[in-house]
């Protein structure tokens, strides 16, 4: 599956892992990944280790996730971003909204 989810043992951290292109094609799967959870996690981690590409609609999806997780109060981090993906995130200055590493 191109979008996988995993809860930490204490149930407080939700990890969403993207494989392949992160673009509009993953829109529904990505939304399901955080909307169809019974428990509300304290923090969400988006793991882009196996994501090959990210476009502007993916940026929009990250904004949706952030909004869902509490907007300005949300604790959303993006990890394992490749240098190309980091460049795209940097141009849009998304590091001002997300903890990117």
């Amino acid at each position: 599956m191109a979008v996988e989810t995993d809860f930490s043992q204490d149930g407080k951290k939700l990890t969403i892992k993207i494989t392949g292109r992160f673009d509009f094609g993953k829109h529904q799967e990505f939304r399901d990944a955080y909307e169809r959870q019974n428990d509300q996690p304290d923090s969400v981690v988006v793991d882009l280790k196996d994501a090959t590409y990210l476009d502007s609609s993916a940026l929009g999806m990250l904004l949706l996730l952030r909004d869902h997780a509490g907007g300005d109060e949300a604790d959303v981090s993006v990890i394992h971003a490749s240098s190309d993906v980091r460049k795209i995130l940097a141009i849009s200055n998304f590091d001002k909204l997300f903890d990117i590493s």
Binding site: S56, G60, L63, I91, S92, N93, F94, L97
Partner: protein
Amino acid sequence: MAAEQALTVLVAEDGAADRLLLAQIVRRQGHQVFTAENGEQAVALFVERRPQLVLLDALMPVMDGFEAARQIKALAGEALVPIIFLTSLNEEDALVRCLEAGGDDFMAKPYRAVILAAKIRAMDRLRRLQATVLAQRDEITRHHHYLLNEQRVAKAVFDKVAHAGCLAAPNIRYLQSPYALFNGDLLLAAFTPSGDMQVLLGDFTGHGLPAAVGAMPLAEVFYGMTAKGYGLAQTLREMNAKLKRILPVDMFCCALMLNLSVQRGSVEVWNGGMPDGYRLSAGGEVLSALVSRHLPLGVLAPERFDDSTEVLPLAAGERLLLLSDGVLDTADDQERLFGVERLHEVLAGNRDSVRLFDEVMQALERFGGRPRDDISLCDIRMFTADERVPAPMIYAERGRPSPLDWSLGFELRGDSLRRFNPVPYLVQLLQEIHPLRSRTGSLHSVLSELFSNALEHGVLGLDSRLKRDVEGFADYYRERARRLGALADGFVRIDLKVEPHAQGGRLMIEVRDSGAGFDVQQVLSRPAQEQCLSGRGVNLVRRLGSDAQWCEGGRCARVEFVW
């Protein structure tokens, strides 16, 4: 599968006994049958009755089955009319000929009812599949036409809004695909009343109608506020707040906005999410990149929006190159992207910035060949004061002129000085004086100049001589932002006095500040060139007003307009 359906079937067979037998078998299966004795009759019957399926003997007198099959297929056009050849021929090449003449299947004599029924059913499935595909294709074509028409109308409406500005000015060259709007790309340009040029290159997330929808309000805010003389910070704030309010969470607009001021010899830049733009010397040297330092428009709530800009020197003949990510993401046939490095090579190779636009286009063509429909490329040459286009008239007609005998005092303090630009309001108010309307641009220039002098040199105590070279320029604006941020007290006071005078009237503008003042004699005796560059703008103010003087030790500027 759908219930079995009665078909109209044409049977062409020269042997009378076989023909009767076949017709009977097919009729018993519930179909309607027409019969023909040879190929010619079969074709004629086909034209007349348009049967849905044809059983065709290969060897017949007058016209054989092969020729009849070719003619029937040609007459049927796109619709599938299955032809089953009836044949006693067993040689391979004869069977091949049946199929090549347009036959879809064949059946060997003697006929067996069960096999024939099965073949008719199979052919009927194919026939209906083809009909469904054709119907869907026509439906898609029809929708596509609707869509194109809707886009054409929407674009026509949008063009009326978008082209309200000065994209056609001689110092702007741009490329945008005709339907760039539906890729979310947006290019706007307009003059402020005092002759600054404001330009915005934007890129909405997404494609199609959703991407185009946000463009309309953005363009309206841009043109409305530019025409009233608002600067970048306020216009951007308004655009961000508006987009944040109307767009869904996952939609936003990357934007690069510029203000080119001939008077100040500078360009002010705000970039939120667009690729780097470039500031170039006339000789093609890259002076600096216009880097994205902000989140795109429509992401942050108004109270968190950052409107801080950069101010860079820009002399007449120097240029700016702006581009959308469509340029960088142009792909070749192996899906490799054009990318920033290749763009940098083009920039490095350029020796004459006039030619840069063409060189970028040629490089894209050499690289990919596959034209994208979302490329926006814009080249802007810093213009000279003589090239300024007359500012548009922005007043609303309200019948009777207002009284011409009034005065107004306006004092800005503390936080208001940081955030509020009173000039557009005051210019709007002065529109009420009809004889002054033709001088709106001058009024705006004078008020802007006096207000920023009072704020920057008076309240903030900045020395305009800092701006004499490029580094100084950057230092000056950095220091301006720092001191403005730290500002605790101080004021700028603007007094307007309008009175009837002889046959006409007189407007007196006084701008006072809480600063230390300056040595009026000394500044006024500086060479004109220096005065202009260092921003006192004394010459400009003197030229535009009927009378201009400085008093109270440089803490008060007084300008008169007489009509």
